[in-house]
């Protein structure tokens, strides 16, 4: 609420600033220009074919995770069924593409994600009118129930959802514009990047409007939001519908990218993934879900190459974040913002050194955990492959006691050393902030 008050108080000052010069406009536009340039040159930096695929996936995930954050981060609605709007957007987009191809309609591919967006919005309005009457646990349970409802229906209504194999299409058969047929992945990447930047700008702009502020107010204290004269139910409903819109756009982009949509896209696993991505990145800031989407997509691709049980590590990472960094990676970075503002570079260096000292035993602990997990997996499900295996390129026999002793020692020793070194971080942190506050430059 104080934030709203300060926004209102600052409004005249802001108006004066933008009228006074273009400096504010430049400051506002600079990050977006930088982002657009980054999206444009990324394929030139990561040139391999698989990198392009991963970058496309990241673009889709960024839109999806940001749309999720409109619910959880901005409005405080914890949804376990957000993939419904993503998946239904994808299905309607793929059906739209097939209709366009079949009837030879003059519709180019780049507008197809809009079909996904509008379907997401439509279903957001339908399901939102049912589920946003209440917030909190009840909302979470309804979203879970609706998610299961749609996921189960997708296996029954085979005509629309295409059963197990899903619905496929061919993106190159649509109307060609500017000589693009969207056969090569690079053209699809730029299509995704374009939609991603547009959606990001729209979603960011939305957080800056009075409506965005009301969403925050409803998240913090629905009763007081009501006293100001806004109906929390209506605010939640609008936020939910708009989140459906952007999730639908992401689903439409996925349909274009994969040329295939199946019933897994509306399922609980997809809903869980976007929750993980947004939360790991950090739901407290706009940049958080973007970080999370990039990291989670990258981990998904990279870890699944390295180990079969990558989802277990994924879950452990998530639990670790919930326990020790509830504001996500972005929250961890933001914690250091006051030091940066105070230009306390000396104490930042000392803090960085303390982090490095504590990091070493943490890595030892992690190595012990990884060793235990990999050896367990080798002895149980993957027993047919024999007991000799490679962990960190190190040959060992999982059936012999030695590696287990080593793993136990790594875990116990790493944990003990971490407990010993962590106070160093605490002390460095305390000193740094005392110094930073003394400069008076922190906010």
């Amino acid at each position: 609420m104080t934030e709203i008050a300060s926004t209102v108080a600052n409004a005249p000052a802001r108006a004066g600033l933008s009228a006074a010069g273009s400096a504010a406009v430049v400051r506002l536009a600079a990050p977006w220009i930088a982002l657009t340039v980054a999206f444009a040159i990324l394929p030139a930096i990561f040139t391999s074919g698989s990198a392009l695929t991963v970058l496309s996936l990241m673009g889709i995930m960024i839109v999806f995770a940001l749309s999720y954050n409109m619910l959880l981060g901005e409005t405080g609605l914890l949804s376990f069924g957000h993939a419904v709007y993503y998946g239904l957007g994808g299905f309607l987009a793929v059906h739209a593409m097939n209709t366009v191809i079949h009837d030879r309609l003059p519709v180019p591919l780049p507008v197809i994600p809009m079909v996904g967006g509008f379907s997401g919005l439509l279903f957001g309005i339908i399901f939102g009118s049912v589920s946003t009457r209440r917030a909190g646990t009840v909302f979470a349970m309804i979203s879970l129930g609706l998610g299961e409802l749609v996921a189960s229906s997708s296996l029954i209504l085979r005509g629309f959802f295409g059963g197990e194999e899903g619905v496929s299409t061919n993106r190159t058969k649509l109307l060609h514009i500017f000589g693009l047929n969207f056969g090569p992945q690079i053209e699809v990447y730029y299509l995704i990047a374009g939609w991603c930047v547009l959606s990001m700008m729209a979603m960011y702009a939305l957080t800056r409007t009075p409506f965005g502020r009301m969403c925050n107010a409803v998240r913090e204290n629905p009763e007081r939001a009501q006293f100001v004269g806004y109906n929390p139910r209506v605010v939640r409903f609008i936020a939910f519908s708009l989140a459906g819109l952007f999730a639908g756009i992401a689903g439409g982009l996925a349909a274009v990218n994969f040329e295939l949509v199946n019933s897994a896209e509306v399922g609980a696993a997809q809903s869980g993934l976007v929750l993980l991505a947004a939360y790991i990145g950090g739901i407290g800031s706009f940049i958080g879900p973007v970080i999370g989407a990039v990291l989670v997509t990258w981990l998904e691709v990279m870890l699944s190459d390295v180990t079969d049980v990558w989802q277990l590590y994924f879950g452990l990472l998530f639990i670790g974040m919930v326990m020790f960094a509830p504001n996500g990676i972005a929250g961890l970075l933001m914690m250091h913002a006051p030091l940066w503002q105070a230009r306390a570079y000396g104490s930042m260096l000392r803090l960085a050194l303390a982090y490095l000292v504590a990091l070493a035993p943490a890595l030892v602990l992690l190595a012990g955990i990884i060793l235990t997990i990999e050896m367990t997996y080798r002895l149980s499900v993957k027993a047919f492959a024999g007991t000799t295996m490679f962990v960190f390129r190190l040959a060992l026999d999982a059936a012999s006691p030695m590696p287990w002793v080593a793993a136990a020692m790594l875990i116990a020793g790493g944990f003990w050393l971490f407990r010993m070194t962590w106070p160093l971080v605490g002390a460095a942190w305390h000193d740094a902030f005392t110094l930073a506050r003394a400069t008076g430059r922190t906010r």
Partner: protein, 316 residues
């Protein structure tokens, strides 16, 4: 027809009682912490797999006792070192913690026992037919499941309402500060309730494992139904959970035995079937096929028309 009704009623009551074994723990934990334990069905799955593994070594009866105790112990550890720590970050973090836990338990089970079904069999001592209804042999194991579930329900009810421990637990649910003032260790009560709740879920897992399929997706399949039960019954209401468990158990069991579709009903009175598309699908879908989505439909309807659930008193 009468045979179908009798058998379905028996099966429905059995399924409902199994649901209640889990829903009771879930409801108690919710009343206590104000957080729905997303991983509750995962403890049920752990119970089934522990039961399977231990019965491989020492037989079914020791497993029937040891597995729930072990799982309850794990539950207590989770409460003591996980949930209690996360509590400071607020209710959303607590719910997400249990969500992550469900994810991790499923992956861990897959890592150890694989994705396929485990060969968890009905013990030989109970592998006979208890009685014959009309022409159907009703297995003794199902009677054993039913008796166990009812016995535990009775014991739980007696402990909660008739003993000192039950009194303290009931008081801690509503007036935890006052109970703490009186010198009781409320965090320990919470830990105990969490352990007993997860242990009850494990009992359900141990006895349901041989009858149903013991597989790594059993938690994900049952978890959402469990939430439907506690929400439909009314969050925090044990009586409501009991009613909703039986309701959903019966509805689902009866639904799978009804092989009727719109085509049968409307086609019988001479309405022409639609040509194709979604309507065609809906036309030919049988009640048995939509049985899996009936609980969720019920959930949505309940939340629209009676948001507090069947017996819920107030909003949390």
């Amino acid at each position: 027809m009468l045979e179908l009704v009798t058998i379905s009623t028996l099966n429905g009551v059995l399924y409902g009682m199994l649901l209640f074994l889990m829903a009771s723990g879930l409801t108690l934990i919710f009343s206590m912490m104000g957080v729905l334990n997303f991983a509750h069905a995962s403890f049920y799955m752990l119970g089934a797999f522990f039961g399977f593994q231990i019965s491989q070594i020492v037989g079914f009866w020791p497993a029937f006792v040891v597995a729930p105790v072990l799982v309850g112990g794990i539950g207590m550890l989770v409460e003591r070192y996980g949930l209690r720590y996360v509590h400071r970050h607020g209710p959303v973090a607590e719910l997400l913690f249990t969500f992550g836990l469900a994810f991790v338990i499923e992956e861990a089970v897959q890592m150890i026992w694989g994705k396929g079904p485990a060969d968890y069999r009905v013990p030989a001592a109970l592998d006979f037919s208890a009685f014959t209804v009309f022409s159907t042999n009703y297995p003794a194991y199902k009677m054993f499941e039913l008796i166990t579930a009812v016995a535990i329900f009775a014991a739980l009810f007696a402990v909660l309402t008739r003993t000192r421990v039950g009194l303290i637990i009931q008081a801690s649910l509503t007036h935890s500060h006052m109970v703490a003032m009186l010198g009781h260790n409320v965090p320990r009560v919470f830990m105990l309730v969490f352990g007993v709740g997860t242990g009850l879920a494990a009992v359900a897992g141990v006895i349901a494992g041989p009858a149903l399929v013991t597989q790594s997706n059993m938690a994900a399949a049952l978890g959402p139904i469990l939430f439907v039960v506690v929400v439909v019954g009314g969050l925090g209401s044990l009586g409501g959970a009991f009613l909703a468990s039986l309701l959903i158990g019966l509805v689902q069991t009866f639904a799978v035995s009804v092989n009727l579709s719109v085509a049968d009903v409307l086609g019988g009175i001479g309405v022409a079937p639609p040509a194709s598309g979604i309507l065609f699908d809906l036309w030919n879908v049988t009640v048995a096929q939509i049985a899996p989505i009936i609980p969720y439909l019920l959930l949505v309807l309940i939340l629209i028309f009676r948001p507090t659930g069947l017996m819920g008193m107030r909003e949390h």
